[in-house]
């Protein structure tokens, strides 16, 4: 399948990319890793006149420390994020989730920022980013702004990044010493999450001191169940106790119903997977 014709631009700086995006107006589209966009173009579900490839902007690649945060360039491939020693040490949940994205070839091309901006409800990066309290650095014609994770995911496939803006970096607060787990429920290889739960937990003296949780594919955007996070504080690393604290995790959620399962099935899965993710993250 061949996409419709488009003009191709490969700028080498964010400034040039923003200028090209501005000039293209409604007809411009940003190309990151292309793992979601290229299939969409091939199916002709979209037909932008100008494709602006960020692949030659070196500033957008790589992972570095900045005080209490890790800064991940939007164009860093999943494979690099998944195996980066800094990410393993300070943001284990991001590494764990990145390892589960699609398949090895896709992880070589697909990018951290692309997966977040695409904002597929079943995508594996939004829920962990939300759970960890990520901040999104967005460049636009008027300069750079920072968007908290709680305001970044707006709706199905929709984020706070405007038509004339580009996500450049993501700041992840360091969670050094926290355990983490991403429990992804699928039935077959390569499948998108039917439901997945991201958990990162700090254990102190055999009990849970802090827990941060994100739910994948339990609604049109990733969900952070604050009440369950609160209920887990002070809970011992015991299956029954964790199960009791997490039982209400699906309350108020509106998961989809499809051939993989109806909404009630997904709510049940969310409870089971949250318990497992918290126990694994806590090292129990």
């Amino acid at each position: 399948m061949i996409p419709t014709k488009f003009a191709y631009e490969a700028p080498t700086s964010v400034e040039d990319a923003l200028r090209l995006l501005g000039e293209a107006g409604d007809e411009g589209k940003i190309l990151a890793g292309g793992m979601s966009l290229i299939p969409v173009l091939k199916l002709r579900l979209a037909g932008p006149e100008v494709l602006i490839d960020l692949g030659k902007i070196e500033d957008l690649r790589g992972i570095r420390e900045d005080g209490d945060a890790l800064v991940i360039g939007a164009m860093t491939p999943h494979h690099v994020v998944a195996h980066d020693p800094l990410v393993e040490q300070h943001a284990g949940l991001i590494a764990a989730a990145s390892k589960t994205v699609a398949d090895p070839q896709v992880r070589h091309r697909g990018t951290f920022g692309g997966g977040l901006v695409h904002a597929d409800p079943a995508g594996d990066l939004p829920a962990p980013a939300l759970a960890m309290g990520a901040e999104f650095v967005v460049a636009g014609p008027g300069g750079t702004r920072t968007v908290p994770a709680s305001e970044f995911f707006v709706d199905l496939f929709t984020t706070a990044v405007g038509e004339d803006e580009i996500l450049t970096h993501v700041r992840i607060p360091k969670h050094t010493g926290w355990g983490s787990s991403y429990k992804k429920f699928t039935r077959v290889a390569q499948q998108w999450s039917i439901v997945a739960v991201a958990a990162t937990v700090r254990v102190e003296n055999g009990t849970i001191a802090e827990a941060q949780i994100g739910l994948t594919n339990m609604g049109s955007t990733p969900i952070r169940p604050a009440a369950v996070e609160q209920a887990l504080v002070g809970v011992s690393l015991d299956e029954a106790a964790v199960a009791a604290a997490t039982a209400s995790v699906a309350e108020g959620t509106t998961p989809p119903s499809d051939t993989n399962g109806d909404a009630d099935y997904r709510r049940h899965l969310a409870g089971v997977l949250t318990k497992r993710a918290v126990l694994t993250a806590a090292g129990a």
Partner: protein, 167 residues
Amino acid sequence: MANTPISVTVDQVTYEDDVEPRTLLVQYLREQLGKTGTLIGCDTTNCGACTVHLDGQSVKSCTMFAVQADGHDVTTIEGLAQDGDLHPMQQAFHEKHALQCGFCTPGMIMQSIALLQENPNPTEQEVREGLEGNLCRCTGYQNIVAAVQAAAGAGSAAGTQSEEGAA
């Protein structure tokens, strides 16, 4: 719309070409360079038959534009054998009878090499997970897994490709 000039190295030969931006890398390899060893299976990023190496890493060439390969180094299944000698992974697939119809084989071999580059001594489970992006409808995977394990056991040669330039 204007064609875009690219410079891309494929199987150790550098090509300077003008391509239409919407040309997929796999189309460029097959139709412009005549390298039909790389196959198009599903054309939807699922089956992995079109897997090639880009700067030594496995990618699905049906889900990448040729213009994105500008300045990069591509290795296809046709670039593996050296002076008529099969690559150790090709040899292992031959010896373990890791194919029936053969359609998935080029992609399967390219991904298997990438797998051993990242994990030289994988367990059976790790081989199966490492080949998650490659579908085979004939073999049931048993002999493919056996071939990868045999290649791994045969030494590090299976996971190295001296012909691939550094990124």
